[in-house]
């Protein structure tokens, strides 16, 4: 909602500077989104009077005018045609500046010196008219700064009006809000309607209200014999300053009232109303109307229309019909001012996807009791600006008066909620200034009647807010709550998530955050079958912003792969170690499910090249190491098992198992997918479902004591067939029950000609330790030999004892 300083001053005396007024607006909740000094871009343009128009000696289409600025006369070359001697026009003198930064200098035009320029409305930025010069009213004083004449010595505020304050969608409403806080009286414009006494309105038009629920009040006046023409300059400029384009005097008046009182009005060309009757009714199913914007719209029964005898001529409260709009031929104007049901207007506006200045106000609620004031004010202005005759009387259909709201407020409650010490008298005073009528009061409470222009005020808490706003939020002291003791413990899921982040960051991984939506097409692109649960559980967004974000992710892979692609292909970051913790979403039979998932993706080298860092390519074992360290610190034992997965290369594809439950996957992203995203290096990926590991995580720590006796290490190399996995041997070793085996580590893996094709050597380092004594070599060797014996038999392994 735009409003200017000077317009406001018509209704309230302001002794605040335009700048200071911004703070007041903000403190009223009318947040100032922009504050501009109008005419800031116009300099050295004055009112001039054309004293002579002489032909240009060297150009047929140009003339040379002598223009008086009062104290001096200038000779100006001009190409316009619309001026006559005696006209008053804006003159930009040598050194003038026009909007868009245009500078005017003394120039020679085809051999004649031009000492400036006479301007059109467009050149001054006050209208769209570029055809000819802006001819100013005859009584304009010559020599005056044009900014004063054109209302450009003013300030414009663009205010964000909260949706519960439709009363501030008009200049008068804003002045009224200011008057409560500035303690200045509101001055409503006074005007006198001169009715043409001959014939009563009822003889011209019959109005029937068929839908009083959707239109509680409908009023109308008829103004005859209007002259449709341009509005006077002051009106054009005033509208222009608040962002409304001038159309003609009658339409401008309805827009002016819209801005002034906040009440939308509609003007019909009376002579085009067939049957001379207006019916306010629900639309018929599939009834059509061509609205002012030229669009044909199909209606439903829920839509309220203004209709004549034959058909709908306006969408009530939203937009008029094209056929019956005010045109240059209009002679008689039927003015409508009504109160429509806000919810119905909003529904229709949403359904038709058509929001207008009018619907915006009706759906927030206009002043039902202000209907006649706005109607009369509009009729008066049309009478003034279009020389119309106001026909005697008016129609006012208001079958069921909307009862005023009465609210009881306790003084003590106000201060209890606010933590303030506002005096009873001040509360009453504030309510009065806001236009609330005090119906009753005693020592404990008071009862107010809410003025009809205020919306959304039903309860005591609403009155408390009113008092707080005018009293001033800044006057309420900052305090520390006095509260009861309550103790909380951190939730496990929270703890787990924080722990994982900390663990991964400490290992050199970067955390990323991606959008939860991805493109459905992604799965298509990488060739996942429709039966894959990642695809058939997708939850689609009904109204996506774009095809790239039309479904909720079931896996973090698309986002993380895209992060890799962006970093590697466009940002020049070749070595990537990143992770994300985010929710994934699944459609289940009867529900939509969401849970947090961890995704880890790595590619490139582990280190940036450095003089101490060799080129160590990231491999599956780096990824697995990350997972191992994480799980170890979470106190979770896990295994990885080969399992094919469409997203991984078949030789490097695994599931992560904790106690027979699959909690995640890890592997190398398939060459096919990687190449689709233009990534040249091998990409390793793991995804782990957090709720599944949450129950296994152990955060409780207990000191286990330190070893009292020395341990003894034995290293053994087994040469085994390639098809036996390290896991199988480890599992077997662990299954051998011996109280003195402390830990088993793999310290070397060797494949090579020395040990033969299809074979490899795994070297284990086994640490033996007893809790009760120092072990002897014999004791250790006994177990170690048994162990060697068992493994070699079980796996047909050759043994190489080392030490």
């Amino acid at each position: 909602m735009k409003v200017t300083y000077n317009w406001l001053r018509e209704y309230i005396d302001l002794d605040l500077s335009p700048e200071k007024l911004c703070d007041k607006f903000n403190s009223l909740g009318l947040s100032v989104s922009s504050f501009t000094k109008l005419g800031n871009d116009v300099h050295n343009v004055f009112v001039g009077k054309i004293e002579a128009i002489n032909p240009h000696p060297n150009a047929d289409k140009l003339v040379v005018c002598i223009v008086s600025l009062g104290n001096k006369k200038l000779s100006i070359v001009c190409g316009a045609k619309n001026m006559n001697v005696g006209d008053k026009v804006p003159v930009a003198v040598d050194g003038a500046i026009l909007p868009n930064g245009v500078k005017i200098n003394k120039v020679e035009i085809r051999g004649v010196t031009s000492n400036g320029m006479m301007c059109s409305g467009k050149e001054l930025g006050v209208s769209d008219d570029e055809e000819g010069l802006l001819i100013l009213p005859k009584d304009t004083i010559v020599g005056k700064d044009i900014k004063e004449i054109l209302g450009l010595n003013d300030f414009c505020y663009d205010l964000e009006v909260l949706s519960n304050r439709p009363d501030c969608l008009g200049v008068i409403g804003i002045a009224r809000a200011l008057s409560a806080v500035l303690k200045k009286p509101l001055k409503l414009p006074e005007f006198l309607i001169k009715e043409d006494k001959k014939i009563k309105i009822e003889e011209f038009i019959k109005i029937s209200l068929k839908a009083p629920n959707l239109c509680p009040r409908y009023s109308a006046r008829l103004v005859s014999n209007v002259q449709i023409k341009e509005s006077p300059l002051w009106m054009q400029i005033r509208l222009k300053n608040v962002g409304i384009r001038s159309i003609n005097n009658v339409v401008d008046v309805t827009n002016y009232i819209l801005m002034e009182t906040g009440h939308p009005l509609h003007a019909f060309d009376y002579d085009l109303i067939s049957g001379k009757s207006i019916i306010i009714r629900n639309a018929n199913l599939n009834e059509e109307i061509i609205t002012l914007d030229g669009i044909s719209r199909k209606l439903t029964k829920d839509v309220l229309v203004i209709s004549d005898k034959n058909k709908a001529i306006a969408l009530a409260g939203i937009m008029g019909g094209k056929e019956i709009e005010i045109s240059s031929n209009t002679k008689n104007v039927l003015l409508e001012c009504a109160y429509f049901d806000p919810i119905n207007i909003r529904k229709t506006s949403k359904m038709l996807n058509l929001s207008t200045e009018s619907s915006y106000r009706f759906e927030r609620g206009v002043d039902c009791e202000g209907v006649l004031y706005s109607l009369n004010r509009a009729a008066y202005l049309i009478q003034e600006l279009a020389d119309g005759n106001i026909i005697k009387g008016y129609v006012d259909l208001y079958p069921k008066k909307i009862p005023p709201i009465k609210i009881k407020t306790r003084y003590s409650r106000v201060n209890k909620i606010l933590g303030s010490t506002i005096k009873n008298k001040e509360m009453i005073d504030i309510c009065k200034r806001l236009g609330f009528k005090i119906l009753r009061k005693d020592n404990n409470q008071f009862v107010v009647q809410v003025p009809s222009f205020r919306k959304g005020i039903y309860k005591e808490i609403d009155i408390i807010e009113e008092i707080a706003q005018i009293y001033g939020y800044d006057r309420i002291k900052e305090t520390i709550p006095k509260i009861e003791l309550k103790v909380f413990s951190e939730k496990l899921s929270n703890k787990l998530e924080d722990f994982i982040r900390k663990n991964l960051v400490s290992k050199g991984l970067y955390e990323v955050i991606n959008f939860s939506f991805i493109s459905k097409n992604w799965f298509n692109k990488i060739g996942l079958s429709k039966e894959n649960p990642l695809v058939n559980s997708l939850i689609d967004i009904i109204n996506p912003l774009s095809e790239n974000w039309n479904t909720l992710r079931t896996t973090l892979l698309p986002s993380l792969l895209d992060n890799v692609r962006l970093n590697v292909c466009s940002k020049g970051n070749k070595n990537i170690r990143i992770f994300e913790i985010g929710r994934v979403f699944f459609k289940k039979e009867n529900s939509l499910e969401e849970f947090k998932t961890l995704g880890i993706i790595m590619t490139g080298n582990i280190y940036e090249k450095g003089w101490l860092q060799k080129d160590e390519k990231i491999s599956f074992y780096h990824l697995k190491g990350v997972i191992e360290d994480l799980f170890k610190n979470l106190g979770i034992e896990f295994k990885v098992l080969n399992e094919t997965n469409e997203i991984f290369n078949s030789d490097c594809s695994a599931s992560i198992i904790v106690k027979d439950e699959k909690v995640g996957i890890c592997g190398e992203i398939s060459n096919k997918i990687v190449s689709l995203f233009d990534i040249k290096s091998n990409v390793y990926y793991s995804e782990i479902k957090l709720p599944l590991i949450e129950k296994y995580a152990n955060f409780s720590k207990t000191y286990l004591g330190l070893a009292k006796f020395p341990g003894i290490r034995r290293d053994i190399s087994f040469i085994i067939n390639n098809n036996i996995s390290a896991q199988e041997i480890s599992d077997y070793l662990e299954s051998i029950k011996s109280t003195i085996i402390e830990k088993i580590d793999i310290i070397d893996v060797y494949e090579g000609e020395q040990i033969g094709k299809g074979k490899r050597s795994l070297t284990y380092s086994i640490t033996y330790r007893s809790a009760n004594k120092t072990l002897t070599d014999e004791e250790v060797d006994e177990v170690n030999d048994k162990l060697i014996d068992l493994v070699s038999k079980r796996f047909n392994a050759q043994i190489r004892k080392i030490g």
Binding site: Y510, I542, K571
Partner: protein, 335 residues
């Protein structure tokens, strides 16, 4: 004596592990095989042994001696070799580069926020991102066709299901589960169908706070917000509350902090106003208490909410919200 020698072998082994220089090796040499060294003393004690033990012990002692001499020779070679190859340390060369990772800047703000509210004894909770119309709007006093819904363009997943547009539904879910008094924050992702541009994102993070007790006031809301904003920006800030409108709080306020960049003098970040809008806040509306069966005569409370991105952009001087979701490593490593 046999046992003693076994221990001696171990002692020798341990000593050898700690040898790092020729000097140290020389000392060990003197200690064991010097003229009055340990081995010499054992040899002297030989004469006191019973005759049948003498050969056995003699053999062990000789083995130990031989072994020791061999070890000394090897060690001596090794140490001399080291000495020859010893390089000059150029301390100006860069050190070994260890890996270091980073938390996402939004996570850093989220963690700081959690820490501050934990220190104020708030509980931390979470709610679903897929919400129902009821929790996201209706229970928050925002019925269908309420104009306030205009400011929250919503992604729908079905008739009644949507992606939450705010973290406020968590308030309702938490109050349904817990009895007052309440003090809780919730941080999470929210979604609005706004086109992605430097200052808007269809997904963003919000922090939501709620405190309900017998005597909670608007002044308390101001107090808690001042503590939080001063702590998160690590500056003593001033706060300003201006009237605003949220259907689920009343009185409602738009919360601004004195600009932490120019300290209120006026700069491009605060658009020369000296103030930065940070949060929406207010006293919990009685209708919200009603929807969770709290007696609004007995309990009062405040709620507040705001964008994590906004806090991060101010604190880290980031001018484009899209950077958070692009995840360029060169961006992430700056925090």
């Amino acid at each position: 004596m046999e046992n003693e020698l076994e221990n001696l072998t171990k002692e020798i082994q341990d000593d050898f592990i700690n040898i790092n220089s020729i000097d140290e090796l020389e000392k060990i040499k003197i200690k064991y095989i010097g003229r009055n060294g340990i081995l010499a003393q054992y040899f002297k004690r030989m004469k006191d042994l019973p005759p049948d033990e003498k050969p056995k012990i003699g053999k062990i002692l000789n083995t130990i001696k031989k072994d020791l001499e061999y070890k000394i020779e090897i060690k001596s070679k090794e140490l001399n070799k080291n000495k020859q190859e010893e390089k000059i340390i150029d301390i100006s060369l860069p050190g070994y580069r260890f890996l270091s990772g980073k938390y996402h800047p939004l996570t850093q703000i989220i963690n700081q926020t959690k820490e501050i509210f934990k220190s104020l004894n708030f509980d931390i909770t979470e709610g679903p991102e897929i919400e129902t119309e009821y929790y996201n709007f209706e229970a928050l006093n925002t019925p269908k066709y309420h104009p306030a819904r205009d400011t929250q363009s919503t992604f729908y997943l079905g008739e009644e299901t949507l992606l939450r547009t705010q973290t406020s539904p968590v308030q309702v879910r938490y109050m349904e589960k817990e009895k007052p008094p309440i003090r809780v924050i919730s941080i999470g992702k929210c979604y609005r169908s706004d086109q992605l541009d430097p200052s808007h994102s269809p997904m963003f993070h919000q922090v939501e706070g709620l405190m309900v007790d017998k005597n909670i006031t608007f002044g308390d809301l101001k107090g808690i917000l001042k503590i939080f904003l001063s702590r998160i920006f690590e500056k003593k800030v001033k706060i300003m509350l201006n009237p605003s409108y949220f259907p689920f709080t009343e009185p409602s306020a738009e919360v601004s902090t004195s600009c932490v960049i120019c300290e209120g003098k006026g700069c491009s970040v605060c658009k020369n106003t000296g103030w930065l809008e940070i949060f929406g806040a207010g006293m919990v509306h009685p209708n919200v208490f009603k929807s969770v069966n709290y007696d609004s005569e007995k309990w009062t409370g405040f709620a507040f909410g705001g964008g994590i991105e906004r806090l991060a952009m101010i604190k880290y001087n980031i001018n484009d919200i899209r950077l958070f979701y692009e995840n360029d490593i060169k961006f992430l490593e700056q925090f």
